[in-house]
């Protein structure tokens, strides 16, 4: 026999209460001096045996009443109702959806809470000896419990405590197929704990053909009164290496995953947890909007920039972060042709002017320009600069090429400015041979300065977050810049990327990134020689962004995908002694340290597995610093649109499931399903009979 609440059977010991009360009353007998003991003894002598048996029967009846009551509360089930399997037990199979959409809902109505409570309640009512399995749909779906016999309900509950919501989408169709195939043909009860998300149930049309008569299915589905869900799908910093005091844009992409329009949702931008500004967005269903926020950071070091939406029904996907490093400036070395002595004959003249303009009232200009005309260059000298500009007129020797290659491989940013004096043949030979050309320059075109023929930059041709503002003309109209000499490129490097284009669509700036270090190849010079670059005020921020991009090549990304390795070069005189990596919701783990010539490479191969902030705590003998990263995953489970009513009806018909929305409803459904199979009425009848028997026995003495 089994019971709905088998745990209550431990209370059968309460049957001893009448016996305990009997002896208690006996020991607490009231004393009285008695003269009529002759009558008393006569009564006792004649009825002693009868009294003895009366007491025994009374006690037995009372104990039976209590025990029958306990049994009634435990609600015994008929054996036939247990759908006996070959080994005599009903197999209970749990299918749990652990995708993050289960977090949808507010407060105690959150799906995960509802499911956990219902699951706990369900598992807690299984008694010793019951058999169960649990299939968890997460990032790696699988059986967490496989035909396990319950020894102690606390152990079963402990298994539930280990369940964790994961940042993943799941396929209930696949999970359900697996579960239905588990011990098929045996008497089973299958409990599906999942929401009704259409994306999760995609492909479930074919499920259910194999459900047999011995299988009962319960679908525990949390209700969602509100399905309006916005999510931050991406957060991008214009640069991850920024210059102190200089504005840089941050772009957050927000998507409306619901089938209703959302108006005036607030998105806040935070730096190191403090809100620095907010914007409002309105979005039609299914649409994505990009929100720009200009940031200016004044403190050096690593910072965490976060974009966060105001709370909606699914808070999990409302925030995203990125790490940025603030530096004092971008130091630039201009390798100048010694013959170019005019103020604007080399790039140095223009860049120094740009530095002064950009500095404004700041004492330290954002660009630190060094003009270098010596024939011999030491790599150690180069390594001191964030970017190196190779002027078109600079004679390129194999030795210089080798040094530049070495500089780039150590994380330097090389800018190749193909001005009107460039010797393309030498560049192709030397730089091409060294693998430093993002694209092969094939020719240089020269026009009359101030003439009708020139090239302007295309506002729609920028493929760099930092330059996106020029595309929107919010940072100025860069198209007014005119180039009267420009290079044309042939075959680009497979990994090269066109960052900016001319108005005719041809590429102005190519970028080639290595693990660390990179090359920017510009189709025109940065000098004003022969006025091949008509300078306008908007070109200075443009140039700063280009140089910051070049300088950023020396820094490992501070925005990583989930499970993407996290890397950081810990430079400096004192190497780190230990580095700990901590990602959102996880305990810190030790990072791997690899000494390099330019510093210590810190690696966390596994990366972060959850969207959110992450950090490296770098411990040195004399200091510690925290380096922030933003782990960004795809919003694969944010769409809360419910499955179609046709699909739901079809599944309900094929699976013959009982759909409930809470643990209480599940309990009621289970009780309802068993009501006809319970011995409840018989036990209550027993209670009644024993009770009446006890009363009759008592009446005999009256």
């Amino acid at each position: 026999m089994s019971f709905v609440y088998p745990g209550l059977m431990f209370f059968l010991v309460l049957g001893a209460i009448p016996i305990i009360v009997y002896y208690l009353m006996r020991f607490r007998a009231r004393r009285v001096s008695w003269g009529a003991d002759y009558i008393l003894e006569r009564a006792l002598a004649r009825r002693r045996k009868k009294l003895y048996w009366d007491q025994i029967v009374l006690l037995a009846l009372r104990a039976l009443v209590v025990m029958a009551l306990v049994t009634a509360f435990a609600r015994p089930l008929a054996k036939r109702a247990q759908m006996q399997s070959s080994d005599g037990e009903l197999l209970r199979v749990v299918l749990v959806d652990q995708s993050y959409s289960m977090l949808a809902g507010r407060g105690d109505e959150a799906g995960d809470k509802v499911v956990r409570n219902a699951l706990r309640e369900l598992v807690a009512r299984w008694g010793r000896g019951e058999k169960w399995s649990m299939y968890v749909l997460g990032s790696r779906p699988g059986w967490v419990v496989d035909r396990q016999v319950v020894q102690d309900p606390a152990d079963s509950l402990a298994v539930l405590e280990r369940l964790k919501i994961e940042e993943t989408a799941v396929s209930l169709a696949s999970g359900l197929k697996t579960v239905l195939a588990h011990e098929a043909g045996q008497p089973r009860e299958i409990y599906i704990f999942s929401d009704d998300q259409a994306t999760s149930w995609r492909g479930a049309e074919a499920v259910g053909a194999s459900v047999d008569a011995n299988t009962r299915i319960f679908w525990i589905r949390p209700t969602l009164s509100d399905r309006q869900n916005l999510a931050v799908t991406e957060l991008e910093a214009g640069h991850e290496r920024v210059v102190r005091g200089q504005f840089f844009p941050v772009y957050a992409r927000v998507r409306n995953f619901s089938d209703e329009s959302v108006r005036d949702a607030e998105i806040s931008f935070l730096v190191d947890g403090a809100i620095v500004g907010s914007e409002r967005v309105s979005l039609p269903p299914g649409q994505t909007v990009q929100v720009r926020f200009d940031l200016r950071l004044k403190e050096l070091g690593s910072h965490l920039v976060t974009a966060r939406l105001s709370d909606d029904v699914l808070a999990f996907d409302n925030a995203m972060s990125v790490g940025v490093d603030v530096h004092e400036s971008v130091s630039v070395l201009v390798l100048r042709d010694a013959e170019r002595t005019g103020k604007f004959e080399s790039a140095a003249g223009l860049l120094e002017l740009a530095a002064r303009v950009l500095a404004g009232d700041e004492q330290t200009p954002p660009l630190q320009v060094t003009d270098f005309e010596e024939p011999e260059v030491d790599v150690r000298d180069l390594a001191a600069y964030d970017a190196v500009v190779l002027d078109g007129g600079r004679a390129l020797t194999p030795a210089l090429t080798k040094k530049l290659q070495e500089y780039v491989m150590q994380g330097g940013g090389l800018i190749l400015a193909a001005d009107d004096a460039v010797d393309l043949a030498v560049w192709r030979d030397e730089l091409g041979e060294a693998g430093l050309l993002p694209a092969v320059p094939v020719s240089v075109h020269r026009e009359q300065v101030g003439g009708e023929v020139y090239r302007g930059l295309s506002p729609s041709g920028f493929d760099l977050p930092a330059l996106r503002g020029f595309a929107e003309q919010s940072d100025g109209d860069i198209s007014v810049v005119r180039f009267y000499a420009w290079a044309a490129f042939g075959q680009p490097h497979p990994d090269a990327r066109a960052l900016a284009r001319f108005l005719d669509g041809s590429v102005y700036a190519w970028r080639l990134r290595f693990e660390r270090g990179g090359v920017l190849l510009l189709a025109a010079g940065l000098n004003s020689r022969d006025n091949n670059l008509l300078v306008r005020e908007t070109v200075y921020p443009f140039l700063l962004h280009l140089f910051a991009e070049a300088a950023g090549a020396g820094q490992y990304p501070r925005r990583v995908a989930r499970h993407e390795p996290v890397r950081y070069l810990a430079a400096g005189d004192t190497p780190p002694i230990a580095v700990q990596f901590q990602s959102d919701g996880h305990e810190p783990v030790a990072a791997t340290l690899s000494p390099r010539r330019e510093g210590t490479l810190v690696t966390v191969a596994a990366g972060g597995d959850r969207t959110g902030p992450a950090s490296l705590l770098v411990l040195r003998d004399d200091a510690r610093e925290k380096i922030w990263f933003g782990v960004q995953g795809d919003r694969v489970d944010s769409d809360l649109t419910p499955m179609s009513t046709e699909l739901k009806a079809g599944l309900a018909e094929r699976l013959r499931w009982t759909e409930v929305t809470s643990g209480e409803a599940l309990r009621s459904a289970l009780d309802e399903g068993r009501r006809g199979d319970e011995h409840y009425a018989w036990v209550m009848l027993g209670v009644l009979l024993f009770g009446v028997g006890e009363m009759l026995m008592g009446l005999r003495f009256v």
């Binding site: 006996r26 004393r31 009285v32 009529a36 009564a43 006792l44 007491q55």
Partner: protein, 308 residues
Amino acid sequence: MADQDTTELTFDSVLPVETRDALRHLEIFARKTAEGLLHGAHVSRRKGVSTEFDHHKQYMPGDPIKHVDWKVSARHDQYYIKRYIEDTALAVQLVVDSSASLKQTSGGVSVWRQTAHIAASLAYLVVLQRDSIGMVMTNTDSTLWLPSSSTQAQMVRILQALASARARAADALDTSLRAVLERVSRRGIVAIVSDLMFDPESVRRDIRKLQARGHEVMVFQIRDPDAESFPFNRWMQFDSLERAGVRHRVDTVPLKRFYLEEYRAFMEEWRSWARKYDVHLISLRSVDPVEKALGEYLALRAEGRAGA
């Protein structure tokens, strides 16, 4: 229920003034013939010469010749002798049970108090009629014997004895009755006052012997209300009043019915036996007024209807 010990009596409380006043108009008559030294109001069993004629009896050898009624003998040609009714003083012997079971108390009144009250009342009535009364009071520890006397001093002695007596030890009523059998040769009334809570066989046997000796026996049974109703409904420990160390721990709920059945059967046995052997059994509760119960009984007795 022995909830309060009221067995302590004083001389005045044994027979209060109000009881005496209530008893003053009552008279106790011998229902059977009595023997006495003094002339009195009671019918004597002895037929004398100077008293009222009763009947004739055929002469039997040994009869006194002086009682032959010659006239009647001449008329019937057979000898007849005259029989006369002779008045005589009533001799009453009180037999008082002073066993410890009489300490049973209900409602503040002990069985012993009522026992003493009855005994004193009877003594008062008898002495008031100038009849003689004696008393024997026995338990297993002691026996008190007061020879018969009709003086006021006897009354005082009886009251003092009752007031100073302590109900204790086990029952020994049969001992008292045997003392009466041994010491009292003159026929009269033997009044037994007891709760009768003992095995009645030997007592009944002695009562029969007394009757055989020509005594009229009346038994005053004092009932304790609690012993009669057994008002318990829980576990109780009954400590025997008569036998030290004897106790019964019982659940009274199932026992009650059986106890009451036994009690009623016991009482019915006494009543049946009394009816059968013409013994007056006067049963009254310890809380009943003595003068009223005694008055009713004596009235019925005077009408010849009193009995068990």
